[in-house]
Structures are given as structure tokens and as C-alpha cells.
Symmetry: C2
Subunit: 230 residues, 2 copies
């Protein structure tokens, strides 16, 4: 009864609506200031400050002071993955906060998840990389094969720089809407950044929705090696 980690503490941290809203907002991957998070959660700055303090002490957020601003982001990918798992459960029970509307459909199609691509487009990307032998799966470790390295560099990604960073290159992240994996890790982030650079897709300003241009969608499909019928 009293062995094992104390899940109640962190679950109750996530369990407050205001804090949950902040965390959800941070799932987009951008660091946000205390004021922005307060607005996101619909509370005053004082209240937000108190919440942020708790989240920080609980190890869920990583703060960064810059002048008189204080930026917050999720502490690490494990936090993001746990939040996705909770979203999966919530979606399962039908606890969607809004009626499934156009926004919801767009979210399921493509969204940003801690700076990498999620939703249908995300899992399709992952599947394609695996089936073409660019990613190898062994236990939880995902690794980039040599042919995968070539593919990625031809797509315009500086692999050396990624490998020099201290965060893991490849990770899997369970997608709550698709219920399968998509690619996370620094490579996942780099791929999505490159897709943005190429102008194939753009993030919505106020949500996690990612919108592909018609051309971008076609190019993306071609990249995956699919015959395309728009």
C-alpha cells in the first residue's frame, strides 16, 4: 500500500483545471510567459504565479528567466508523453472539452505535440519511415539506420548538429487521437521545423492545429512515397 512512487502528488498537480490548461498550452512546445499562461487559463496573474510555482516544484515545468519575463516550458519529453497518455484516456471516456467540431477534426489531422508533428500526418510519417527501413525499432530504442541518415540529410537536416545535442535523437510518442506512435525526439522536432521552413505547413496561432498548404500536403505525401490523389 505504501510502496512505489507517489502518483497522487503529480496527478493532483495536473488535475486542477487551470494548471491543466497551462500544460495543454505548453504541449505546443513553445515556451510561454507567466502572463500568457494566465490568459490561456483564464485566471489572474497572481493565481497563475501560484500555480506555476507548484508545477515548477513538482518538476513538471522548466522555467527560464529573461529580464523581467519568466518563460515556462514542459520539463522534458516524459512529461509531454504522460500528458498525451492522459489525453488518450480522457478521449476514450468521451471527455472532450468541446463538441467534436471542425477544430477537433483539424487537430486529429495534424497538430503539434511538443514541437513535433502529431495526428494522422504524424503517424503516417512515422509508419513510412519505419516501413522503408529508415528507422529501426528494437525494444523502446528507436534508431536511425544509415539509409535513414541519408534520407534525413537529403531532406535538409543537419544531422551532426542534432547528434551533438544532449537530447535523444529518436523517441516514440503515443498519439492520443491515432492511438499509435509518432516520432518524437530531436529528430522529430527537426523534421517538423524543416516542414515549416519549406512552407509546407504552418501552426495555428492560438491552438495546436497545424495546417498544410495544398502544395505542402502533396509534397509531404510524395516524401512518404505515396501516390497522391488530392
Amino acid at each position: 500500500m505504501k510502496d512505489g512512487p507517489d502518483i497522487a502528488r503529480i496527478a493532483s498537480l495536473i488535475g486542477d483545471p487551470a494548471r491543466a490548461n497551462m500544460l495543454t498550452a505548453l504541449m505546443a512546445g513553445k515556451a510561454l510567459t507567466a502572463s500568457e499562461l494566465a490568459q490561456e487559463a483564464g485566471i489572474t496573474l497572481q493565481t497563475a504565479s501560484s500555480h506555476l510555482r507548484k508545477l515548477e516544484l513538482g518538476g513538471l515545468l522548466q522555467p527560464l528567466r529573461q529580464g523581467r519575463h519568466k518563460y515556462f516550458s514542459l520539463a522534458n519529453e516524459e512529461v509531454a508523453q504522460t500528458l498525451e497518455a492522459l489525453m488518450g484516456l480522457a478521449a476514450n471516456v468521451g471527455l472532450l472539452r468541446t463538441r467534436p467540431g471542425p477544430k477537433d477534426k483539424a487537430l486529429r489531422e495534424a497538430r503539434v505535440c511538443y514541437n513535433h508533428l502529431a495526428g494522422n500526418m504524424g503517424t503516417r510519417l512515422f509508419d513510412s519511415l519505419v516501413s522503408r527501413g529508415f528507422l529501426r525499432l528494437a525494444d523502446d530504442e528507436i534508431s536511425l539506420t544509415s539509409s535513414g541518415a541519408i534520407f534525413v540529410q537529403e531532406f535538409g537536416i543537419d544531422l551532426g548538429q542534432l547528434r551533438a545535442g544532449r537530447s535523444r535523437l529518436c523517441r516514440r510518442c503515443l498519439d492520443w487521437s491515432e492511438r499509435r506512435s509518432h516520432l518524437a525526439g530531436s529528430l522529430g522536432r527537426a523534421l517538423f521545423t524543416r516542414i515549416e521552413e519549406l512552407g509546407w505547413a504552418a501552426r495555428d496561432r492560438e491552438s495546436r492545429v497545424v495546417t498544410f498548404t495544398p502544395h505542402g500536403r502533396a509534397a509531404f505525401n510524395k516524401l512518404l512515397g505515396h501516390q497522391e490523389a488530392i
Copy 2:
């Protein structure tokens, strides 16, 4: 801000200490009655009843009436996996409920996780099955290869019966102490049941700890194809 699933509702369900204790107790995989869960959580039966109602409505528990008893178990494996993810986060931040003692060490070595084997022994089993080509990993789908099927049946498992059941044969489950996958799904449960049948290991009565006999440990290692030095 208000798109996506409502994680606050379920997180707050898990976030109450009494409910978290009940859920943790149910991670052992056995169905428990309301009274047993009340005792597990250290609260009266009335209070427990109210909590259990909420967990049931929230889709986290699956009730089963039997006469004047009401048995509860976790609703599905997704719930168990989310709880493991939360345990991982909690352990990360150092939120262990007790000082790491002998019990904790035993938990990390081998424990039961929703009726399958977890901890160091669990991940070693998984690794061995994968590296010997008995399990194939493709995206999130894990499948048993034909050589794997032979291996499993030689171990004394009725594969036909498992396949007839409606729950998935193979699943991965992220281990909070090892931070890697072990095998879940009906096959994972069957393997552990068989290990119990053979007398290789036994569950602790009051915790999730699994204790291997010296002979059982040796046999287990031999099963994994390891040279054994006790």
C-alpha cells in the same frame, strides 16, 4: 485553449490520495472488493464507496457484482499504462512514498503489473524474446513470430485459447523503474501465470513484489538463454 481532451477531469480523479492508493493496489491485477480497497486506502467503507463511484463513472474502473460483493479492477490496459507513466514521472522527481528500502529494491527487481511481469526481470524477458526473433516490433504493434509461437507453446501455454480471447495478444507497457518496455497483453499475462504455475516465483500477499525461488531464477535465466551464475 479549449480544444482537445479534458485531462483535468481524469487527472484529478487519480490525484486524490485515497483514490491513488486504490488504483495502485489494483495495479497488481487482482480484482478487489470495495471493503478491501477501503482498507488499502485507509478510509472507511462509506468514503471508499463514494470514491469508487467516481472512478467507475470516470471510466477508470470496471465493476463486477457477485452476490453482495462488488469487485473492482482497472478498466483496461490503457489505464494501467497511464498509471505506470505517472509513476515514472513521480519517481523521476523523487516522489517515492517511502525511503528506498529493501521493499523498494525488491519492487525494482520483479513485480506484478496488471498481472504480467514487470521490473528488471520483466524487461529482461522482453529483451530476450525480441532479440531471439520471437517477437517482432513494427510501430506499436508487437506480434508473435512463428518461431515465437513454438517457443511459447513449448513453455506450456495454450496459444489457441489466448488467440480466441478478445484482448490483444501482445502489448508493450512502459516500466517505471526500468524506463523501458516489458511485455503486456494476454500473452504477457499467460507467461507470468505459467511462471507461477511452475513454482518459479510467487507474489507477495500485500504488495506487488514478486519473489523468485533460487531454482525459479535459474530456470528463468535458462529460459532466456543466459549462462547463469547465481
